[in-house]
Symmetry: C2
Subunit: 620 residues, 2 copies
């Protein structure tokens, strides 16, 4: 059994193939993700904190503490959860930057915790939307009330804080513990035989159980997982699959229904399967992941084909033009994949995480970190409109990135993911360290037998395909590098005092096991030439089209680069890379003219004003 309090990481299972490394063991030191972490820390967190105040979602807690609710309450029924995700993001950011107690970040964190704690009822209940005279009764609207969902996010925030600042006396972990005990009391085996309409409490309870060493919370998470699929939630227009209450988790074939709910539930179910050593449940989840990735996932890693219910479609139902691909569903997919990666060690889970990070999560925020995509279409037919910088947008509006949404789950979800991103870079096992994601970074950890592993990673990835690992301390260990599934022709090179060895590295993983000396260098060379990808013939929506990919990035054609409406674009040749930009010969169906159009990484689209855009481009 591992010490699950120790690594400063979001997920610390007691068992599994790989051991996570915390923010104290892995630091991202620059590059593509380092820049985004900086913007997140300097701009996004401030932006979110400011909006939570001005929208009234944080002041709701003050009203609760003052006993004046429901009068003056603002926001949707789940607005508390955004405060908790914000707290979680602050906690990771404090941990990531090792912020001192007198910094504004730490003071802000403590202020928000104090406001939340003041709103907690004596019995542990905390929610600004239910339970008071003039409000709905506690737990009376399980389909749409989101009470347990909000608590799940509270638990994740408390876990983040406890793992990054185990000795902090801010009281957040106690707020969480008391709320979790109430949940166990109300919803335990002798309590309400019920679930929340939005999964999340499962993953929160499991991790809180791990961090507090309290099996009751893990058992409660298991109860919630098992209760899904029994139809206890009311039928709604979109069916009980919307809530994953149609089929028991262990009997399902694929993720279905609301894509965020589905991924959060699968994440919690994976935690439960690992903690309870329930291999049957774990196998079911692995099968669901496989089928979902094969048949219900966009080339960007995005999930969710329906606007109506923000839901997965049927197998092969992946329209570009109505792709919902909610940012939060992408984050949920990363949560699920990461848990399976820790449990199984299989690199395809890290492949999907990379695809989703670069093409969904990185697409959401604007470069200034102050506006976001909620949904991530793969085909924009009509130029979007500039969002009002002071306004609040509809979630899937056909706009440029917007500063805030009526349902604003995505901005704080991006913030907590970026702040904790180093935790997804590397893992350890008894033999050594596995590098899953490539970014300039430093890794310092101690293996279970006491060997100290220390190395630095330098890379210009994903612009450049070379990843250079320099050993910092003499240690014998196995360094395992992921070779992405698209990276045919990759090679690995070892430079030591003894000379240079180079060999091919097939997609999957490549291991270099050696008594390393400080200064030894392991280089992985990933071929990044732009490539044309054809769709599975069963995906009707993009038949007769191709997508250009380069390394982990999906590229997009914008009207501004084509010089005409992209409705007329037809591929007229192979993509060519020159001077750092990828160009594709594109014929205008109407004029017949062929343009060498620059393609942009999909995550960079719509940054030069309104445009039309497509990821899949017809070939005839």
């Amino acid at each position: 059994m591992r010490d699950t309090t120790a690594p400063a990481a979001p997920v610390v299972p007691t068992r599994g193939r790989l051991r996570p490394l915390g923010l104290d063991e892995v630091r991202i030191t620059g590059g593509f993700w380092g820049e985004r972490q900086d913007v997140n820390g300097t701009a996004t967190l401030h932006h979110i904190g400011s909006r939570l105040e001005s929208e009234g979602w944080l002041p709701n807690f003050d009203l609760a503490a003052a006993g004046t609710l429901p009068e003056g309450r603002r926001g949707r029924e789940f607005s508390d959860s955004e405060v908790y995700k914000y707290l979680e993001a602050l906690a990771w950011e404090i941990g990531r930057t090792d912020a001192a107690a007198d910094t504004a970040l730490e003071q802000r964190f403590r202020e928000v915790v104090a406001r939340v704690a003041a709103a907690q009822e004596p019995d542990g209940y905390v929610n600004t939307r239910f339970g008071r005279p003039g409000q709905g009764d506690r737990w009376s609207e399980l389909e749409w009330g989101h009470e347990l969902y909000c608590l799940g996010h509270l638990f994740q925030a408390a876990v983040a804080r406890h793992r990054t600042r185990p000795d902090a006396d801010d009281g957040l972990i106690e707020v969480a513990r008391r709320a979790a005990e109430l949940v166990c009391h109300e919803f335990g085996a002798d309590g309400r035989d019920a679930i929340c309409g939005h999964a999340e409490v499962e993953v929160g309870l499991a991790e809180l159980g791990r961090v507090l060493g309290d099996q009751r919370f893990i058992d409660q998470a298991a109860l919630f997982v098992e209760r899904h699929g029994r139809g206890s939630l009311a039928e709604i227009e979109w069916g009980q699959e919307y809530f994953q209450d149609d089929v028991p988790v262990r009997d399902a074939e694929a993720l279905r229904g609301h894509a965020v709910r589905a991924n959060y539930l699968s994440s919690g179910a994976t935690d439960v399967a690992v903690e309870l050593a329930d291999d049957g449940l774990l196998d079911a989840l692995r099968g669901q992941w496989d089928r979902t990735v094969e048949r219900r996932t966009y080339v960007t890693g995005g999930q969710g084909s329906h606007h109506q219910d923000e839901a997965f479609g049927d197998d092969w139902e992946l329209p570009s033009d109505r792709a919902y691909s909610e940012t939060c569903a992408g984050i949920g997919s990363i949560m699920f994949s990461w848990r399976l990666l820790l449990a199984t060690g299989e690199p395809r889970h890290a492949d999907l995480i990379e695809r989703t990070l670069f093409n969904v999560v990185a697409t959401s925020p604007a470069p200034d970190g102050r506006s976001f995509y909620y949904a991530n279409t793969l085909h924009q037919r009509v130029p979007g409109v500039e969002a009002d910088p002071e306004g609040t947008s509809k979630r899937a509006s056909s706009s440029l990135r917007a500063p805030w949404f009526e349902v604003s789950c995505c901005p704080p979800n991006v913030a907590r993911t970026f702040a904790s991103l180093a935790a997804y870079v590397a893992t350890a096992d008894a033999e050594g360290v596995q590098l899953h994601q490539y970014a300039p970074s430093s890794v310092r950890t101690t293996l279970v037998d006491g060997r100290v592993v220390a190395f630095d990673v330098e890379t210009g990835y994903p612009v450049d395909g070379g990843i250079r690992v320099t050993i910092v301390e003499d240690t014998e260990f196995a360094l395992t590098l992921r070779v992405p599934s698209w990276a045919s022709g990759a090679a690995v090179r070892l430079r030591t005092g003894d000379g240079l060895i180079e060999h091919a590295a097939d997609p999957g993983t490549v291991e270099v096991r050696r008594a390393f000396r400080a200064g030894d260098v392991v280089e992985l060379m990933l071929p990044l030439a732009p490539r044309l990808t054809t769709p599975d013939p069963r995906v009707d929506a993009v038949r007769g089209s191709v997508v250009v990919e380069r390394g982990p990035e999906v590229l997009a054609l914008e009207s501004i680069d084509f010089g005409a409406d992209i409705v007329d674009a037809v591929v007229a040749g192979d993509p060519v890379e020159n001077d750092g930009s990828v160009r594709l010969p594109v014929r205008n169906r109407t004029s017949g003219e062929v343009t060498d159009a620059v393609l942009v990484p999909y995550h960079d689209w719509a940054q030069r004003g309104p445009s039309t855009m497509r990821v899949w481009i017809p070939t005839a």
Copy 2:
């Protein structure tokens, strides 16, 4: 100016290129549509009447009369409208069958009218959902309240009754007149500057104004039309275009937003343009029709690409697998097209009516007339489930046809359309008669100069392509026959005592002008060989696929005929017709096996139990 009270038809403009003929002038005597009219009259009307009782939507009027509302009220805010559409359907059916006063049909009609009349307030207001203590105030929820929408259907019912039984003393026309006067008082030029969130009152007021010769009602319809597009309705998640309140009617480029609302508004706007001789408005509507048919209409004639808001998509956004294609939107499109046909005489409007009748409206009801499709997908990936015959279904559920819906607009809309269908078959002008739709029928009318035109139509259409018109009375007149746009190679043949003349008839119309003698025969021969249709290259969703059409019918491939899941179907040859069935060589992508699969008319799909189905079939 024409007598707009006289023809027993839903739409009787005072001017326009063509004059409608009423149910007393045109009778459908059998065949494809005659069978459907019979089922409608014998089964569907009873089914709807029974459900309106058991669901409480008709009893709501009794509660209103008893003064006990809101207690016990059932159904959605627009449930009154279904009662009015039912009344309209009964009125047409009574007219169509020339039912005597002592028939159950006529007695039922009078009973329902009496119950509605009893619920009318002294000032003319009638609605079971608003205006009483404990209900919302009158006109307080214009976005979603549907009060004016319901009244529009009341007006259409009263018009149907007055045109089919002008001397009836049931009082419905007075109920409508008093309600319309209230609407003019409340929403006139000096009243509320507002519109209803669901267009319909415009078309109802215009026709009521025609039938009563009351210009105030037409002017009020014009006011409502002009007020659209000024943003007086609140912003909702789907934008003000949902209500067509984003752009003034005369400035819009295409139909947009909710597809039923858009078509109903366009129909009312056409009525207004014709009555007020507003050529600018009429031209705008014609342009919108053209663009909508080119870019926003399915091959079935279906309209509406989005489930979320039951709305049109962008240009070329026509996914098969999430086609909404609501039955009521098809009926709305027929309403709009019919008004443009009367105004302009252009046969393409009749072409679309035919396409939509055969492939949307005829698809909705099951052969027994007791269950219906609300939405009409063009691609079913997962077998649907049998609907509970006693239950109430979600509107766009992935089921077989269902007996009733929570929002049950479609069944009574189909019923009123079928009952009045003869009114869409033929028109007259000063020179003669135009046949627009082909069905076994008899036509007896008098031209404006007193000439009596009488002929019978015999045809097995659409199974058979021969349409045989036999002149019944000696008259000199011009008989104009529509040659559908798909009917290249058609021919027309005239058989008289003088011999036989045959010549080619190009798509459009063909006119035979002659001093006809009784017994003369005009035959139109439409080529019905199955044909492969390729999509516009700008429609992404069906790129690389073809559809098989035969005459006016779109054909579909069902899994039961392919012998495997249609996800694996690839066209492997040309369709061939043999012994009355069309077969298409279809290769199984997985097994490689080629099957000569029977294709069924799309309107007949899902009649042999759950199946998967596609209309567009990949070619590679």
